[in-house]
Protein backbone atom coordinates (compact mmCIF):
# COMPACT_ATOMS: atom_id res chain seq x y z
CA UNK A 1 0.00 0.00 0.00
CA UNK A 2 1.44 3.34 -1.03
CA UNK A 3 -0.14 5.50 1.71
CA UNK A 4 1.05 3.03 4.31
CA UNK A 5 4.63 3.17 3.04
CA UNK A 6 4.94 6.85 2.30
CA UNK A 7 2.37 8.37 4.68
CA UNK A 8 5.18 9.30 7.04
CA UNK A 9 6.69 11.52 4.35
CA UNK A 10 3.43 13.47 4.40
CA UNK A 11 3.63 13.94 8.18
CA UNK A 12 7.20 15.14 7.88
CA UNK A 13 6.24 17.40 4.96
CA UNK A 14 3.66 19.09 7.19
CA UNK A 15 6.38 19.83 9.73
CA UNK A 16 8.73 20.96 6.98
CA UNK A 17 6.17 23.57 5.92
CA UNK A 18 5.41 24.67 9.48
CA UNK A 19 8.98 24.98 10.70
CA UNK A 20 10.14 27.81 8.38
CA UNK A 21 6.74 29.49 8.61
CA UNK A 22 7.21 30.18 12.33
CA UNK A 23 10.14 32.64 12.05
CA UNK A 24 8.52 34.36 9.08
CA UNK A 25 5.27 34.82 11.01
CA UNK A 26 7.23 35.99 14.04
CA UNK A 27 9.00 38.52 11.87
CA UNK A 28 5.63 39.77 10.61
CA UNK A 29 4.29 39.92 14.18
CA UNK A 30 7.29 42.03 15.17
CA UNK A 31 6.30 44.46 12.44
CA UNK A 32 2.64 44.46 13.56
CA UNK A 33 3.60 45.26 17.16
CA UNK A 34 6.02 47.91 15.96
CA UNK A 35 9.12 46.20 17.30
CA UNK A 36 10.94 46.24 14.00
CA UNK A 37 10.97 49.09 11.48
CA UNK A 38 9.36 49.13 8.04
CA UNK A 39 10.12 52.37 6.20
CA UNK A 40 10.33 52.02 2.47
CA UNK A 41 11.83 54.51 0.10
CA UNK A 42 12.64 54.27 -3.62
CA UNK A 43 16.38 53.92 -3.11
CA UNK A 44 16.00 51.18 -0.53
CA UNK A 45 13.62 49.23 -2.71
CA UNK A 46 15.81 49.42 -5.80
CA UNK A 47 17.46 46.32 -7.21
CA UNK A 48 20.85 45.82 -5.61
CA UNK A 49 23.77 46.20 -7.96
CA UNK A 50 26.66 47.48 -5.84
CA UNK A 51 25.41 51.07 -5.98
CA UNK A 52 25.09 51.29 -9.76
CA UNK A 53 21.58 51.73 -11.06
CA UNK A 54 20.33 48.48 -12.56
CA UNK A 55 19.99 48.46 -16.34
CA UNK A 56 16.79 46.82 -17.49
CA UNK A 57 15.12 43.68 -16.25
CA UNK A 58 17.04 40.50 -15.51
CA UNK A 59 14.32 38.45 -17.18
CA UNK A 60 15.89 38.39 -20.60
CA UNK A 61 17.66 35.89 -22.80
CA UNK A 62 20.33 33.72 -21.32
CA UNK A 63 23.35 31.96 -22.72
CA UNK A 64 22.64 28.70 -24.58
CA UNK A 65 25.45 26.72 -22.94
CA UNK A 66 23.29 26.09 -19.89
CA UNK A 67 20.73 24.51 -22.18
CA UNK A 68 23.26 22.03 -23.59
CA UNK A 69 24.21 20.83 -20.14
CA UNK A 70 20.57 20.50 -19.16
CA UNK A 71 20.03 18.23 -22.19
CA UNK A 72 23.01 16.12 -21.21
CA UNK A 73 21.69 15.88 -17.68
CA UNK A 74 18.28 14.64 -18.81
CA UNK A 75 19.84 11.86 -20.91
CA UNK A 76 22.39 10.68 -18.37
CA UNK A 77 20.29 10.92 -15.26
CA UNK A 78 17.47 8.91 -16.81
CA UNK A 79 19.88 6.21 -17.93
CA UNK A 80 21.52 6.02 -14.51
CA UNK A 81 18.08 5.57 -12.98
CA UNK A 82 17.55 2.67 -15.39
CA UNK A 83 20.68 1.06 -13.98
CA UNK A 84 19.38 1.02 -10.40
CA UNK A 85 16.95 -1.94 -10.70
CA UNK A 86 19.71 -3.94 -12.35
CA UNK A 87 22.11 -3.05 -9.53
CA UNK A 88 19.69 -4.41 -6.92
CA UNK A 89 19.20 -7.81 -8.53
CA UNK A 90 22.66 -8.12 -10.05
CA UNK A 91 24.05 -10.38 -7.29
CA UNK A 92 21.58 -13.16 -8.05
CA UNK A 93 22.07 -13.09 -11.82
CA UNK A 94 24.75 -14.77 -13.84
CA UNK A 95 27.57 -13.39 -15.95
CA UNK A 96 25.25 -12.87 -18.93
CA UNK A 97 23.44 -10.10 -17.07
CA UNK A 98 26.78 -8.56 -16.22
CA UNK A 99 27.76 -8.58 -19.88
CA UNK A 100 24.48 -6.95 -20.89
CA UNK A 101 24.82 -4.26 -18.24
CA UNK A 102 28.35 -3.53 -19.40
CA UNK A 103 26.93 -3.21 -22.90
CA UNK A 104 24.37 -0.70 -21.63
CA UNK A 105 27.03 1.31 -19.81
CA UNK A 106 29.07 1.12 -23.01
CA UNK A 107 26.24 2.73 -24.97
CA UNK A 108 26.05 5.39 -22.28
CA UNK A 109 29.78 6.02 -22.60
CA UNK A 110 29.41 6.15 -26.37
CA UNK A 111 26.86 8.95 -25.97
CA UNK A 112 29.22 10.78 -23.63
CA UNK A 113 32.03 10.35 -26.15
CA UNK A 114 29.84 11.73 -28.93
CA UNK A 115 28.91 14.78 -26.85
CA UNK A 116 32.57 15.26 -26.03
CA UNK A 117 33.58 14.99 -29.70
CA UNK A 118 30.92 17.49 -30.76
CA UNK A 119 32.35 19.86 -28.15
CA UNK A 120 29.06 19.94 -26.29
CA UNK A 121 30.98 19.54 -23.00
CA UNK A 122 33.07 22.66 -23.52
CA UNK A 123 32.09 25.58 -21.33
CA UNK A 124 32.32 28.51 -23.71
Amino acid sequence: MIPEQFGRVGVLLMFALLFPAIPLIASYAFYRFRIRPEHHDPIKDATYECGVESEGSAWGQFHARYYLFALGFVIFDVEVVFLYPWAVVHGGLGFTALFEAVLFIGILALGLGYAWRRRALEWR
Binding site: F15, A16, F19, A21, F30, D45, A58, V88, L98, W123
Partner: protein
Protein backbone atom coordinates in the same frame (compact mmCIF):
# COMPACT_ATOMS: atom_id res chain seq x y z
CA UNK B 1 56.38 29.32 25.70
CA UNK B 2 56.08 33.10 25.67
CA UNK B 3 56.66 33.13 21.94
CA UNK B 4 53.82 30.81 21.08
CA UNK B 5 51.42 32.74 23.31
CA UNK B 6 52.27 35.92 21.47
CA UNK B 7 52.23 34.51 17.95
CA UNK B 8 49.07 32.50 18.38
CA UNK B 9 46.21 34.95 18.76
CA UNK B 10 43.74 32.06 18.68
CA UNK B 11 44.61 30.89 22.15
CA UNK B 12 42.23 32.09 24.82
CA UNK B 13 43.79 33.32 28.04
CA UNK B 14 43.87 30.38 30.43
CA UNK B 15 42.17 30.81 33.78
CA UNK B 16 42.81 28.69 36.85
CA UNK B 17 39.66 27.05 38.16
CA UNK B 18 38.89 27.76 41.80
CA UNK B 19 38.20 24.87 44.25
CA UNK B 20 34.57 26.00 44.53
CA UNK B 21 34.17 25.15 40.85
CA UNK B 22 36.39 22.09 40.83
CA UNK B 23 34.69 20.23 43.69
CA UNK B 24 31.23 19.96 42.08
CA UNK B 25 32.89 19.06 38.78
CA UNK B 26 34.78 16.21 40.44
CA UNK B 27 31.56 14.96 42.07
CA UNK B 28 29.84 15.06 38.68
CA UNK B 29 32.71 13.13 37.07
CA UNK B 30 32.55 10.40 39.74
CA UNK B 31 28.77 10.16 39.35
CA UNK B 32 29.16 9.89 35.58
CA UNK B 33 31.73 7.11 35.86
CA UNK B 34 29.55 5.24 38.39
CA UNK B 35 26.59 5.54 36.02
CA UNK B 36 28.68 4.11 33.19
CA UNK B 37 29.77 1.16 35.32
CA UNK B 38 26.14 0.51 36.28
CA UNK B 39 25.12 0.58 32.60
CA UNK B 40 27.96 -1.77 31.67
CA UNK B 41 26.82 -4.22 34.38
CA UNK B 42 23.24 -3.99 33.07
CA UNK B 43 24.34 -4.73 29.52
CA UNK B 44 26.58 -7.65 30.53
CA UNK B 45 23.84 -9.24 32.63
CA UNK B 46 21.58 -9.12 29.56
CA UNK B 47 18.63 -7.61 31.41
CA UNK B 48 18.14 -5.01 28.71
CA UNK B 49 17.95 -7.25 25.66
CA UNK B 50 14.80 -6.60 23.70
CA UNK B 51 12.86 -4.78 26.43
CA UNK B 52 11.29 -1.43 25.73
CA UNK B 53 13.71 0.29 28.09
CA UNK B 54 16.68 -0.98 26.08
CA UNK B 55 18.08 2.50 25.48
CA UNK B 56 20.65 1.19 23.03
CA UNK B 57 17.90 1.34 20.45
CA UNK B 58 15.03 3.77 20.87
CA UNK B 59 13.16 1.77 18.22
CA UNK B 60 12.34 -0.76 20.94
CA UNK B 61 10.43 1.78 23.00
CA UNK B 62 8.50 2.93 19.92
CA UNK B 63 7.71 -0.68 19.04
CA UNK B 64 6.38 -1.28 22.58
CA UNK B 65 4.22 1.83 22.35
CA UNK B 66 2.95 0.68 18.99
CA UNK B 67 1.94 -2.74 20.35
CA UNK B 68 0.25 -1.13 23.35
CA UNK B 69 -1.77 1.10 21.04
CA UNK B 70 -2.60 -1.78 18.69
CA UNK B 71 -4.06 -3.81 21.58
CA UNK B 72 -6.49 -1.02 22.30
CA UNK B 73 -7.52 -0.03 18.78
CA UNK B 74 -7.69 -3.34 16.92
CA UNK B 75 -10.35 -3.87 14.25
CA UNK B 76 -11.95 -0.45 14.10
CA UNK B 77 -12.99 0.04 10.49
CA UNK B 78 -13.07 3.52 8.99
CA UNK B 79 -11.57 5.53 6.20
CA UNK B 80 -8.28 5.81 8.08
CA UNK B 81 -7.93 2.05 8.34
CA UNK B 82 -8.70 1.78 4.63
CA UNK B 83 -5.91 4.21 3.94
CA UNK B 84 -3.24 3.23 6.45
CA UNK B 85 -4.11 -0.37 7.36
CA UNK B 86 -5.56 -1.78 10.57
CA UNK B 87 -3.05 -0.18 12.89
CA UNK B 88 -3.66 3.38 11.78
CA UNK B 89 -3.55 4.94 15.24
CA UNK B 90 -0.15 3.51 16.14
CA UNK B 91 1.00 4.46 12.64
CA UNK B 92 0.06 8.10 13.06
CA UNK B 93 1.37 8.33 16.62
CA UNK B 94 4.75 6.83 15.74
CA UNK B 95 4.95 9.01 12.65
CA UNK B 96 4.34 12.12 14.76
CA UNK B 97 6.91 11.06 17.36
CA UNK B 98 9.49 10.38 14.65
CA UNK B 99 8.81 13.66 12.85
CA UNK B 100 9.15 15.64 16.08
CA UNK B 101 12.33 13.71 16.84
CA UNK B 102 13.86 14.53 13.46
CA UNK B 103 12.74 18.14 13.69
CA UNK B 104 14.18 18.66 17.16
CA UNK B 105 17.42 16.95 16.16
CA UNK B 106 17.80 19.17 13.12
CA UNK B 107 16.84 22.31 15.09
CA UNK B 108 19.25 21.66 17.96
CA UNK B 109 22.02 20.65 15.57
CA UNK B 110 21.54 23.86 13.57
CA UNK B 111 21.78 26.03 16.68
CA UNK B 112 24.92 24.27 17.87
CA UNK B 113 26.62 23.97 14.51
CA UNK B 114 26.26 27.64 13.59
CA UNK B 115 28.49 28.29 16.58
CA UNK B 116 30.79 25.31 15.89
CA UNK B 117 31.29 26.27 12.25
CA UNK B 118 32.11 29.91 12.98
CA UNK B 119 34.47 29.01 15.80
CA UNK B 120 36.24 26.33 13.75
CA UNK B 121 36.64 28.59 10.73
CA UNK B 122 37.95 31.25 13.09
CA UNK B 123 40.56 28.85 14.41
CA UNK B 124 41.55 27.80 10.89
CA UNK B 125 41.93 31.42 9.80
CA UNK B 126 43.93 32.31 12.95
CA UNK B 127 41.34 34.48 14.63
CA UNK B 128 39.04 33.89 17.54
CA UNK B 129 35.59 33.70 16.03
CA UNK B 130 32.51 34.79 17.99
CA UNK B 131 33.34 34.88 21.70
CA UNK B 132 31.36 37.76 23.15
CA UNK B 133 27.77 36.55 23.56
CA UNK B 134 27.62 34.17 26.51
CA UNK B 135 30.43 31.87 27.63
CA UNK B 136 32.76 31.14 24.67
CA UNK B 137 30.22 32.88 22.45
CA UNK B 138 27.83 29.95 22.85
CA UNK B 139 24.75 32.17 22.66
CA UNK B 140 25.82 33.65 19.32
CA UNK B 141 23.22 31.68 17.26
CA UNK B 142 20.42 33.11 19.41
CA UNK B 143 21.82 36.60 19.00
CA UNK B 144 21.97 36.06 15.24
CA UNK B 145 18.38 34.83 15.13
CA UNK B 146 17.11 37.77 17.18
CA UNK B 147 18.99 40.19 14.98
CA UNK B 148 17.71 38.66 11.75
CA UNK B 149 14.12 38.50 12.94
CA UNK B 150 14.13 42.23 13.72
CA UNK B 151 15.34 43.27 10.30
CA UNK B 152 13.21 45.14 7.85
CA UNK B 153 11.87 42.95 5.06
CA UNK B 154 13.09 44.43 1.81
CA UNK B 155 11.66 43.34 -1.51
CA UNK B 156 13.04 44.98 -4.63
CA UNK B 157 10.54 46.89 -6.74
CA UNK B 158 10.95 44.76 -9.84
CA UNK B 159 10.65 41.41 -8.05
CA UNK B 160 7.87 38.88 -8.43
CA UNK B 161 6.48 39.27 -4.91
CA UNK B 162 4.70 35.92 -4.56
CA UNK B 163 7.58 33.90 -5.99
CA UNK B 164 9.95 35.89 -3.81
CA UNK B 165 8.29 34.71 -0.62
CA UNK B 166 8.09 31.01 -1.55
CA UNK B 167 11.73 29.80 -1.84
CA UNK B 168 12.83 30.23 1.81
CA UNK B 169 9.92 27.98 2.79
CA UNK B 170 10.24 25.56 -0.13
CA UNK B 171 13.93 25.03 0.35
CA UNK B 172 13.17 23.57 3.77
CA UNK B 173 11.17 20.68 2.30
CA UNK B 174 14.13 18.76 0.82
CA UNK B 175 16.27 19.92 3.74
CA UNK B 176 14.02 18.12 6.19
CA UNK B 177 12.70 15.24 4.06
CA UNK B 178 16.15 13.85 3.31
CA UNK B 179 16.44 12.96 6.98
CA UNK B 180 13.52 10.52 6.78
CA UNK B 181 15.27 7.31 5.60
CA UNK B 182 18.36 7.70 7.82
CA UNK B 183 18.91 4.57 9.96
CA UNK B 184 19.94 5.73 13.42
CA UNK B 185 20.08 2.28 14.99
CA UNK B 186 19.06 -1.26 13.94
CA UNK B 187 15.35 -0.65 14.60
CA UNK B 188 15.40 3.11 14.67
CA UNK B 189 14.53 4.49 11.28
CA UNK B 190 11.73 6.89 10.44
CA UNK B 191 10.98 5.72 6.91
CA UNK B 192 12.54 2.35 6.16
CA UNK B 193 11.50 2.05 2.51
CA UNK B 194 13.06 -0.36 0.04
CA UNK B 195 13.79 2.42 -2.47
CA UNK B 196 15.67 4.59 0.02
CA UNK B 197 18.51 5.55 -2.33
CA UNK B 198 16.13 6.60 -5.12
CA UNK B 199 14.06 8.55 -2.60
CA UNK B 200 17.17 10.41 -1.52
CA UNK B 201 18.23 11.30 -5.05
CA UNK B 202 14.70 12.44 -5.92
CA UNK B 203 14.19 14.55 -2.80
CA UNK B 204 17.62 16.17 -2.75
CA UNK B 205 17.26 17.43 -6.31
CA UNK B 206 14.16 19.42 -5.32
CA UNK B 207 16.26 22.14 -3.73
CA UNK B 208 17.50 23.13 -7.21
CA UNK B 209 13.97 24.28 -7.97
CA UNK B 210 13.69 26.48 -4.89
CA UNK B 211 17.08 28.03 -5.56
CA UNK B 212 16.18 28.82 -9.15
CA UNK B 213 12.88 30.35 -8.01
CA UNK B 214 14.80 32.57 -5.60
CA UNK B 215 17.22 33.72 -8.26
CA UNK B 216 14.59 34.32 -10.91
CA UNK B 217 12.03 36.11 -8.79
CA UNK B 218 14.56 38.63 -7.45
CA UNK B 219 14.83 40.22 -10.90
CA UNK B 220 18.46 40.95 -10.18
CA UNK B 221 21.28 40.20 -12.60
CA UNK B 222 23.56 38.80 -9.93
CA UNK B 223 20.81 36.66 -8.46
CA UNK B 224 19.80 35.19 -11.82
CA UNK B 225 23.43 34.53 -12.73
CA UNK B 226 23.97 32.80 -9.39
CA UNK B 227 20.83 30.74 -9.82
CA UNK B 228 21.80 29.68 -13.36
CA UNK B 229 25.24 28.68 -12.15
CA UNK B 230 23.73 26.71 -9.28
CA UNK B 231 21.35 24.84 -11.53
CA UNK B 232 24.10 24.04 -14.03
CA UNK B 233 26.40 22.79 -11.32
CA UNK B 234 23.78 20.88 -9.38
CA UNK B 235 22.46 18.97 -12.35
CA UNK B 236 25.99 18.21 -13.52
CA UNK B 237 27.09 16.83 -10.18
CA UNK B 238 23.92 14.85 -9.67
CA UNK B 239 25.10 12.30 -12.26
CA UNK B 240 28.43 11.39 -10.61
CA UNK B 241 26.60 11.36 -7.30
CA UNK B 242 24.03 8.85 -8.51
CA UNK B 243 26.73 6.73 -10.16
CA UNK B 244 28.70 6.65 -6.90
CA UNK B 245 25.59 5.47 -5.06
CA UNK B 246 25.02 2.96 -7.86
CA UNK B 247 28.20 1.12 -6.93
CA UNK B 248 27.08 1.07 -3.28
CA UNK B 249 23.75 -0.46 -4.31
CA UNK B 250 25.56 -2.92 -6.59
CA UNK B 251 27.70 -4.32 -3.87
CA UNK B 252 25.12 -4.48 -1.09
CA UNK B 253 22.30 -5.56 -3.40
CA UNK B 254 19.74 -3.32 -1.76
CA UNK B 255 18.46 0.23 -1.96
CA UNK B 256 17.22 0.09 1.63
CA UNK B 257 19.46 2.24 3.80
CA UNK B 258 19.12 0.03 6.85
CA UNK B 259 20.20 -3.00 4.81
CA UNK B 260 23.20 -1.16 3.41
CA UNK B 261 24.33 -0.41 6.96
CA UNK B 262 23.51 -3.96 8.05
CA UNK B 263 25.66 -5.34 5.21
CA UNK B 264 28.61 -3.25 6.41
CA UNK B 265 28.03 -4.40 10.00
CA UNK B 266 27.78 -8.07 8.96
CA UNK B 267 30.92 -8.06 6.85
CA UNK B 268 32.87 -5.76 9.20
CA UNK B 269 33.77 -3.72 6.16
CA UNK B 270 33.17 -0.07 5.40
CA UNK B 271 32.17 0.59 1.81
CA UNK B 272 34.34 3.71 1.85
CA UNK B 273 37.35 1.46 2.41
CA UNK B 274 36.15 -1.04 -0.15
CA UNK B 275 35.66 1.58 -2.87
CA UNK B 276 37.53 4.81 -2.09
CA UNK B 277 36.81 6.26 -5.52
CA UNK B 278 33.06 6.10 -4.95
CA UNK B 279 33.54 7.76 -1.55
CA UNK B 280 35.53 10.57 -3.11
CA UNK B 281 33.05 11.04 -5.95
CA UNK B 282 30.12 11.10 -3.56
CA UNK B 283 31.78 13.54 -1.18
CA UNK B 284 32.97 15.93 -3.85
CA UNK B 285 29.65 15.90 -5.71
CA UNK B 286 27.86 16.50 -2.43
CA UNK B 287 29.89 19.61 -1.74
CA UNK B 288 28.81 20.80 -5.18
CA UNK B 289 25.17 20.07 -4.39
CA UNK B 290 25.58 21.94 -1.11
CA UNK B 291 27.10 25.05 -2.72
CA UNK B 292 29.89 24.94 -0.20
CA UNK B 293 33.54 25.76 -0.76
CA UNK B 294 35.43 24.51 -2.82
CA UNK B 295 32.37 24.54 -5.06
CA UNK B 296 30.53 27.64 -3.89
CA UNK B 297 30.46 29.42 -7.24
CA UNK B 298 26.71 29.86 -6.80
CA UNK B 299 27.30 32.48 -4.14
CA UNK B 300 30.82 33.51 -4.96
CA UNK B 301 30.92 36.73 -2.98
CA UNK B 302 33.89 38.13 -4.89
CA UNK B 303 32.15 37.63 -8.25
CA UNK B 304 28.39 37.87 -7.94
CA UNK B 305 27.75 39.44 -4.50
CA UNK B 306 25.81 36.60 -2.87
CA UNK B 307 24.43 34.66 -5.81
CA UNK B 308 20.83 33.59 -5.69
CA UNK B 309 20.09 35.18 -2.31
CA UNK B 310 21.51 38.62 -3.10
CA UNK B 311 18.13 40.30 -2.55
CA UNK B 312 17.16 38.26 0.50
CA UNK B 313 17.56 39.89 3.87
CA UNK B 314 16.32 39.45 7.39
CA UNK B 315 14.69 36.18 8.38
CA UNK B 316 14.36 35.01 4.77
CA UNK B 317 18.13 35.07 4.42
CA UNK B 318 18.39 33.37 7.81
CA UNK B 319 16.29 30.47 6.53
CA UNK B 320 18.56 30.00 3.52
CA UNK B 321 21.57 30.04 5.81
CA UNK B 322 20.01 27.49 8.17
CA UNK B 323 19.07 25.12 5.35
CA UNK B 324 22.56 25.29 3.94
CA UNK B 325 24.01 24.21 7.29
CA UNK B 326 21.36 21.54 7.75
CA UNK B 327 22.13 20.09 4.32
CA UNK B 328 25.81 19.95 5.19
CA UNK B 329 24.96 17.89 8.27
CA UNK B 330 22.71 15.67 6.14
CA UNK B 331 25.56 15.04 3.70
CA UNK B 332 27.78 14.09 6.63
CA UNK B 333 25.05 11.68 7.74
CA UNK B 334 24.80 10.08 4.30
CA UNK B 335 28.54 9.72 3.91
CA UNK B 336 28.41 8.02 7.30
CA UNK B 337 25.54 5.76 6.29
CA UNK B 338 26.74 4.70 2.87
CA UNK B 339 30.48 4.64 3.27
CA UNK B 340 31.48 4.66 6.93
CA UNK B 341 29.29 1.92 8.35
CA UNK B 342 26.40 3.97 9.75
CA UNK B 343 25.59 2.97 13.31
CA UNK B 344 28.02 0.04 13.35
CA UNK B 345 31.55 0.27 14.71
CA UNK B 346 33.00 -3.28 14.70
CA UNK B 347 31.03 -4.54 17.70
CA UNK B 348 31.18 -1.38 19.78
CA UNK B 349 27.52 -0.70 18.97
CA UNK B 350 26.61 -3.46 21.46
CA UNK B 351 27.97 -1.27 24.25
CA UNK B 352 27.53 2.29 23.16
CA UNK B 353 24.08 3.25 21.83
CA UNK B 354 24.35 2.96 18.03
CA UNK B 355 22.81 6.39 17.48
CA UNK B 356 25.70 7.91 19.44
CA UNK B 357 28.18 6.10 17.21
CA UNK B 358 26.30 7.46 14.22
CA UNK B 359 26.23 10.98 15.67
CA UNK B 360 29.99 10.75 16.11
CA UNK B 361 30.36 9.87 12.44
CA UNK B 362 28.12 12.79 11.48
CA UNK B 363 30.28 15.10 13.58
CA UNK B 364 33.44 13.77 11.94
CA UNK B 365 32.00 14.24 8.45
CA UNK B 366 30.84 17.73 9.28
CA UNK B 367 34.27 18.59 10.62
CA UNK B 368 35.82 17.58 7.30
CA UNK B 369 33.32 19.80 5.47
CA UNK B 370 34.21 22.78 7.67
CA UNK B 371 37.88 22.02 7.23
CA UNK B 372 37.50 22.06 3.44
CA UNK B 373 35.64 25.35 3.67
CA UNK B 374 38.38 26.87 5.76
CA UNK B 375 41.29 25.79 3.59
CA UNK B 376 40.41 25.36 -0.08
CA UNK B 377 40.01 28.19 -2.59
CA UNK B 378 37.07 28.34 -4.96
CA UNK B 379 37.09 26.60 -8.35
CA UNK B 380 36.14 28.40 -11.53
CA UNK B 381 32.77 27.52 -13.04
CA UNK B 382 34.20 26.08 -16.27
CA UNK B 383 36.73 24.02 -14.29
CA UNK B 384 33.95 22.60 -12.17
CA UNK B 385 31.77 21.67 -15.13
CA UNK B 386 34.72 20.08 -16.92
CA UNK B 387 35.59 18.16 -13.79
CA UNK B 388 32.09 16.71 -13.55
CA UNK B 389 31.58 15.79 -17.20
CA UNK B 390 35.03 14.89 -18.42
CA UNK B 391 36.57 13.50 -15.27
CA UNK B 392 34.14 12.24 -12.63
CA UNK B 393 31.50 10.70 -14.93
CA UNK B 394 33.88 8.57 -17.07
CA UNK B 395 35.97 7.30 -14.20
CA UNK B 396 32.97 6.53 -12.03
CA UNK B 397 31.35 4.61 -14.91
CA UNK B 398 34.54 2.54 -15.16
CA UNK B 399 34.39 2.03 -11.41
CA UNK B 400 30.80 0.77 -11.68
CA UNK B 401 31.84 -1.84 -14.26
CA UNK B 402 34.70 -2.98 -12.02
CA UNK B 403 32.41 -3.20 -8.99
CA UNK B 404 29.85 -5.18 -11.02
CA UNK B 405 32.55 -7.73 -11.90
CA UNK B 406 33.61 -7.94 -8.27
CA UNK B 407 30.04 -8.44 -7.16
CA UNK B 408 29.62 -11.36 -9.57
CA UNK B 409 32.86 -12.93 -8.34
CA UNK B 410 31.81 -12.35 -4.72
CA UNK B 411 28.55 -14.17 -5.37
CA UNK B 412 29.94 -17.17 -7.25
CA UNK B 413 33.27 -17.76 -5.49
CA UNK B 414 33.03 -20.34 -2.71
CA UNK B 415 35.48 -18.98 -0.15
CA UNK B 416 34.91 -17.18 3.16
CA UNK B 417 33.85 -13.58 2.50
CA UNK B 418 36.95 -12.09 4.10
CA UNK B 419 39.30 -13.19 1.30
CA UNK B 420 37.47 -11.61 -1.66
CA UNK B 421 36.71 -8.44 0.34
CA UNK B 422 40.38 -7.99 1.24
CA UNK B 423 41.33 -8.67 -2.36
CA UNK B 424 38.75 -6.20 -3.71
CA UNK B 425 39.91 -3.54 -1.28
CA UNK B 426 43.44 -3.74 -2.66
CA UNK B 427 42.26 -3.94 -6.28
CA UNK B 428 39.94 -0.96 -5.86
CA UNK B 429 42.56 1.16 -4.11
CA UNK B 430 45.10 0.45 -6.85
CA UNK B 431 42.44 1.10 -9.49
CA UNK B 432 41.47 4.41 -7.89
CA UNK B 433 45.06 5.68 -7.82
CA UNK B 434 45.86 4.48 -11.34
CA UNK B 435 42.68 5.77 -12.98
CA UNK B 436 42.95 9.17 -11.30
CA UNK B 437 46.48 9.59 -12.61
CA UNK B 438 45.77 8.10 -16.03
CA UNK B 439 42.65 10.17 -16.68
CA UNK B 440 44.39 13.35 -15.57
CA UNK B 441 47.19 12.68 -18.04
CA UNK B 442 44.62 11.81 -20.69
CA UNK B 443 43.07 15.24 -20.21
CA UNK B 444 46.45 16.86 -20.66
CA UNK B 445 47.83 17.24 -17.15
CA UNK B 446 51.63 17.01 -17.21
CA UNK B 447 53.04 17.54 -13.72
CA UNK B 448 56.67 17.25 -14.88
CA UNK B 449 56.27 20.24 -17.19
CA UNK B 450 54.78 22.49 -14.53
CA UNK B 451 57.14 24.98 -12.91
CA UNK B 452 56.52 25.51 -9.26
CA UNK B 453 55.62 29.07 -8.45
CA UNK B 454 57.39 30.25 -5.35
CA UNK B 455 55.10 32.09 -2.94
CA UNK B 456 57.04 35.32 -3.40
CA UNK B 457 54.52 37.58 -1.70
CA UNK B 458 54.40 35.57 1.49
CA UNK B 459 58.16 35.34 1.56
CA UNK B 460 58.87 39.01 0.94
CA UNK B 461 56.23 40.27 3.33
CA UNK B 462 57.36 37.79 5.87
CA UNK B 463 54.33 36.22 7.53
CA UNK B 464 55.13 34.62 10.85
CA UNK B 465 58.84 35.42 10.60
CA UNK B 466 58.05 39.12 10.38
CA UNK B 467 55.85 38.86 13.43
CA UNK B 468 58.70 37.20 15.26
CA UNK B 469 61.10 39.96 14.22
CA UNK B 470 58.66 42.58 15.45
CA UNK B 471 58.57 40.93 18.82
CA UNK B 472 62.37 40.97 19.17
CA UNK B 473 62.41 44.65 18.29
CA UNK B 474 59.82 45.32 20.94
Amino acid sequence: MMRSAWLDPVREPTRRLSPQVLAPLAVLLVAFLALNVAIAVLIVSGRLDGHWYDFRDLGNAVQALREWLDDRTADQPGWLSDLLGDHWLSYIVTALIGAIGILSFVGVVLLVLIWVERRLIGRIQVRRGPNRVGPFGLLQPFADAIKLIQKETLIPRGADRFMFYLPPVLVFIPGLLVWAPVPWAPHMSYLDINVGVLYLIAISSLSTLAIFMAGWSSNNHYALLGAMRTVAMMISYEIPLSIALLSVVLFTGSMQLSEIVQWQADHNMWLGVLMPLALFTFFFSSTAELNRTPNDIAEAESEIVAGFHTEYSGMKFGLFYAVELGNAVAVAAFVGTFFLGGWSLFGLEEWVPPYLVFALKIAAGYFVLVWLRGTLPRFRLDQLMMFAWKYLIPISLLQVILVAFERSIFEHWDVPGVIPLALFTIVNAVFAVRIVRFWARFLGYRPERETLLAPTLTRSVGGLQAAQRMRTVR
